[in-house]
Amino acid sequence: MRTITRNGVRIDETFAEAFPMRGTALIVTAPSKRWARQAAVTMTGFATSVIGCGVEAGIDSEVEARETPDGRPGVRVLIFAMSSNDLQTQLTNRVGQCVLTSPGSACFADLTAEDTLKIGDLLRYFGDGWQISKKFGGRHFWRIPVMDGEFLCEAATGLTKAAVGGGNLLICGADYDHTLRAAEAAVDAMNQVRDAIMPFPGGIVRSGSKVGSKYKALHASTNDAFCPTLRGAVKTELDDDIGCVLEIVIDGLTEAAVADAMRAGLAAIIKLGPRNGARRVSAGNYGGKLGPFHFHLKDLLP
């Protein structure tokens, strides 16, 4: 594969192939930062990949108290799914089980769009007839009595069909330590990008997959071409100086957000350089035939 070298890091002339998704954004607030974070972490837990979790979700950013609708500390959460139905089901379950239940929490829409997803409009029934509807300033809220007071929840939130999922970087380094350092630097930089999340643990996935398997029941299996321990046994993509590969997957509310996140990640990896971090960066695709969004690494270089 042709490569471009920047600050000693080889960048493959390839592209990340991404797919259209449905997405939404919420702000979860609580009396303290700790409990706002707790509610957000809980509701975005077990949401790494649509394949096994139904949705991909993550924390976009923390929101200062003065910028939240109720003046309390908040966290902005993004949730993505392959269909509007899946997103609606997961949204109801996750807000209902993880935010409604979290001490002192409130839940607000943070995406304005023509299409909507219900939140409070469904969760209100938990109030068993004591729920109170409030409409003012063009917004609709439900107040649901709970044991610590009231759960305030926006009736609905916006749904975007222009979300993009599956942007990615494959970070290749000499060994585990160097590769992880580069991946961590990249995730830290990408976390600063608005409207994008990295849904895997800490933003990083070590078990990249390929389409298909030798076992009929499985649709995906380990990406053997990037597994260092198999380099002699399979048709490998790895150079002799690569001993470890980590991947970062990005979902964004817009195509631009995914591109911005990838750009920020690439810049951080390149800045770190091959001595301290990664020796090479690649990206995953399926030949360009499956996903309509192609993020070419050479276009995203600093």
Partner: protein, 268 residues
């Protein structure tokens, strides 16, 4: 664009029905057409031209340079645009309006904002009885929008309120929020007897401690993000209301003589 301006030439000889002078009805009409509109309410015919000097302009904003207690139905059925009155108005101001903005710098008679469903009505002076309430034979009062009274309100303000927000910065008379169905009513001044009389659902917020009937039950300290969110919404309209909502609140549920799912908030 210049507004369309009406200036009163003589004291109205009879009560006037100004419900025809709305932006969506006057748009595209010439001054001559407007001058010919009948606004009388008796057998004596009265036209706009008889009483008003008209300065032509865009009907999206209509301005009455003078007011009169005989101006009835001003802004009645307003759908959009803006009407301002530099003075007093009579009954039914902003009745059944669904959008736009109506600003009255003087006092308004009874039934101001009666059955309004949207938009913003601001009365800088006092309002008469039945603020936002239904007229005879109607089931619901105000069902949306924002109704602000900077002065006082008469009796039964917010009668049969169903949705929307009423804010009275001054005092309100007896039976404030009577027969409330839902919606929110805030009074920063003192209220008369029997606030929330027969209210089913909905919210009344009273900055000055009222005397409640025994059919309102103390629910103790109120803790919810709602107060903060609503307070931020009202901050743009009224500092006093925002201050009320920042302070701790106590909740009373009622009216237990009926459904009892309403609430009255008072400072804790």
């Amino acid at each position: 664009m210049n507004p369309l301006v009406f200036t009163l030439k003589v004291t109205p000889p009879q009560r006037l029905d100004l419900s025809g002078l709305l932006p969506h009805l006057l748009n595209g009409k010439s001054s001559k057409d407007i001058a010919a509109l009948e606004i009388g309410t008796t057998r004596e015919k009265v036209t706009v031209g008889d009483l008003f000097r008209i300065r032509s302009g865009s009907a999206d904003e209509i301005r009455f340079e003078t007011g009169s207690e005989r101006f009835d139905g001003i802004g009645q059925g307003l759908q959009g645009g803006r009407i301002t009155v530099a003075g007093d108005v009579g009954i039914n101001a902003g009745r059944r309006m669904t959008g736009g903005e109506l600003i009255i710098s003087g006092h308004a008679g009874p039934y101001a904002g009666s059955g309004m469903a949207g938009g913003r009505l601001e009365i800088l002076g006092d309002a008469g009885d039945f603020l936002g309430g239904p007229r005879e034979g109607e089931v619901n009062g105000m069902s949306g929008g924002l109704l602000l009274v900077r002065g006082t309100a008469g009796q039964r303000a917010g009668d049969r309120l169903r949705r929307g927000t009423i804010l009275i910065e001054g005092d309100a008379g007896d039976w404030v929020g009577s027969r409330l169905i839902a919606g929110t009513l805030v009074v920063l001044g003192h209220v008369g007897a029997n606030p929330g009389y027969l209210m089913r659902r909905g919210t009344i917020m009273l900055a000055k401690p009222p005397t409640l009937t025994p059919t309102f039950i103390d629910c103790g300290h109120f803790s919810s993000a709602f107060a903060a969110v609503f307070g931020r919404f009202l901050l743009a309209e009224s500092r006093g209301a925002a201050r009320l909502l920042r302070a701790p609140l106590r909740r009373f549920a009622g009216d237990m003589a009926v459904l009892g799912k309403g609430e009255i908030f008072v400072p804790a």
